[in-house]
Amino acid sequence: MDILIYGVVNSASLALMALGFTLVYGVSRLPNFAHGALYVLAGFGAWLGMNRLGLPLIPALILAVAATAGIGALMYRFILIRIRGMAISEIIASYAIGLAILEGLRWGGLKGGTFVLPPFAEGSLEIAGVVVDYQRLLLIGLSAALVAGLYLFISRTRVGLALKGMAQDERAAMTLGIDSDGMAVVSMALGAGFAAAAALILLPLGNIVVESGYNVLIMAVAVCIVGGLGSWTGAVLAAFLIGFAQILTVVHLGAHYQVVVALSAIIVTLIVRPSGIFGKQKELEERV
């Protein structure tokens, strides 16, 4: 029972971490390696909002999400747009930007283990003999809500449909009058916003440290690759796969194999089926 509940919690947090990354890649084919940095930035943003500007919790959170989304959009509009389509340059440049953000934060004195965000709800309850705290339950609910919200946004609204069109066939979308770069900016903003939302939901469970930026990036990449780069349903399913695999490794093998499992999952998936379990297989683009 505890494996089931904490497996779901772990999977939901992985899905949250990966959602923003897969959204950006799905729409604009941009591997945003600054994802982890945006995650940490949002955490510190909210902390600064609460402790330096003295805002209450909710406005601080909204401000942090908006600011991070804005930074994501600016990053694309002024820097990444120039190297669009050169995958390797995109990886290097976005990783370098992420590095600059993370190390800049550290240099700015935001280091050590003393930065925390308050949880939305205190306390815990017991389900079938397993104690779960409210924040974790909220985490499951909120991540489900975010996934559902994203789904509705993509399939119901005009902008969402445009994004979907871009993801399916960029040229065809352009001939139909969809502004490709504009949409990419929107997708970057959304992706950064999702990274921020993930941070604000997950960080109250622990504390805000710069190092977690690197971990979040690795986990997001792992989930997206196993699920198939750019596939949203794939990412959610892969989050569950890896999430449960990790919990089971902790129980049966020992916690120190956790990361080994995630990394091996990436390597095996890439070798066997580069587009992941749910990606569209495009044999010739991926391997010869």
Partner: protein, 340 residues
């Protein structure tokens, strides 16, 4: 003052001497020969003279050795990425494998560096090639990501299984016997391998490599087994990385899991971007700039990583051709405005 350039365009013309030295007339006179030899001699003699010139600053002599270690990695990256089409983000894996082999051969069997370095270079390259073999069919981003995972996984596996010294590393490795061997071995390795690679890419083998990069399907259609050739290329790059790792181990008398650290993958790539990809010399120039700059910035703590990340982003976005290509163009050509 710039002229009104609305209806004009810039035209590039080869300098006369460049035209003259393109053919057999290159050896027709001192001027022509000097024109061709000057930039090459500048690098070779510059590198050879560096330890002597820096004799009053022993610390900077060390930095030269580190520059050479990173240069080996960067040349390997450039070779794989721009001549074979395999973008490997796993340079640290080669360093780690080579380093551990050298350290273990030295501490367990008591072999001297003279034996361990070649053994680590060849043995390590074989191991790396064997491990990379299943990933070789992958293309583009997929190969890049899988190669990025290799060093991360290797470090975690050593940590989890607690083998080969675990997180403490392998200690008590022998250092180099003499001060001058220590300084000139890395420099010699860089110069020899640079020469070797520049020859290689113009041989038949190099042509096949470039064919694979440009259009692997048609190479395959010509009845050439491209996986074999990719494996050969990985072997060459891996042996350079393993050599770098083995030298590093004997230089600092230690091997540990941090040899799989991301810096060994990232810094050579940054150097290639700054120096100019596809030139083989560019990465060396990039290292000659980046490593000392990073040392100068050391007093600023973590800010220096941020600074260097900004430099890297700037180069990749605004000046992606790199310094070597830019420099070569200025050396060979001049530009002027013409009416359209």
């Amino acid at each position: 003052m710039k002229p009104d350039t609305k209806n004009m365009r810039r035209e590039r013309l080869d300098r006369g001497i460049k035209v003259r030295t393109d053919s057999v007339y290159a050896v027709s006179g001192w001027r022509e020969m000097a024109y061709l030899a000057a930039p090459r001699l500048l690098l070779i003699l510059g590198l050879l003279a560096a330890p002597l010139a820096l004799a009053p600053f022993p610390y900077w002599q060390k930095v030269v050795s580190i520059v050479c270690i990173y240069s080996l990695l960067a040349m390997g990256f450039d070779f794989l990425a721009h001549f074979v089409g395999l973008v490997s983000l796993g340079g640290a894996f080669f360093v780690g494998v080579g380093g551990y082999i050298a350290a273990i051969l030295n501490t367990e069997l008591g072999l001297p560096p003279l034996v361990t370095i070649p053994a680590a270079t060849l043995g390590g390259a074989l191991i790396c090639t064997a491990l990379f073999l299943p990933c070789l069919p992958l293309r583009g981003v997929y190969f890049a990501i899988v190669s990025l995972m290799f060093p991360l996984l290797a470090a975690r596996v050593i940590e989890a299984l607690d083998v080969m010294g675990g997180t403490d590393g392998v200690l008590g490795v022998d250092g180099f016997s003499g001060k001058w061997t220590e300084m000139y071995l890395p420099i010699a390795a860089v110069l020899v391998l640079l020469f070797f690679l520049r020859r290689l890419v113009n041989e038949d083998l190099g042509l096949v490599f470039r064919g694979i990069m440009d259009n692997d399907q048609s190479v395959k259609a010509s009845g050439i087994n491209i996986t074999t050739f990719k494996a050969i290329a990985v072997f060459i790059a891996a042996s350079m990385g393993c050599l770098a790792g083995a030298i590093l181990v004997h230089l600092y008398m230690w091997a540990g899991i941090s040899q799989f650290a991301l810096d060994f993958s990232i810094l050579p790539i940054a150097a290639t971007v700054i120096g100019g990809g596809g030139t083989l010399v560019g990465p060396v120039i990039g290292c000659l700039i980046l490593v000392p700059v990073s040392e100068l910035l050391r007093d600023f703590g973590t800010l220096r990583i941020a600074v260097y990340a900004v430099i890297l982003t700037g180069f990749i976005v605004f000046k992606s051709e790199g310094l070597q290509v830019f420099g070569a163009r200025k050396y060979h050509q001049f530009e002027h405005w013409v009416e359209m």
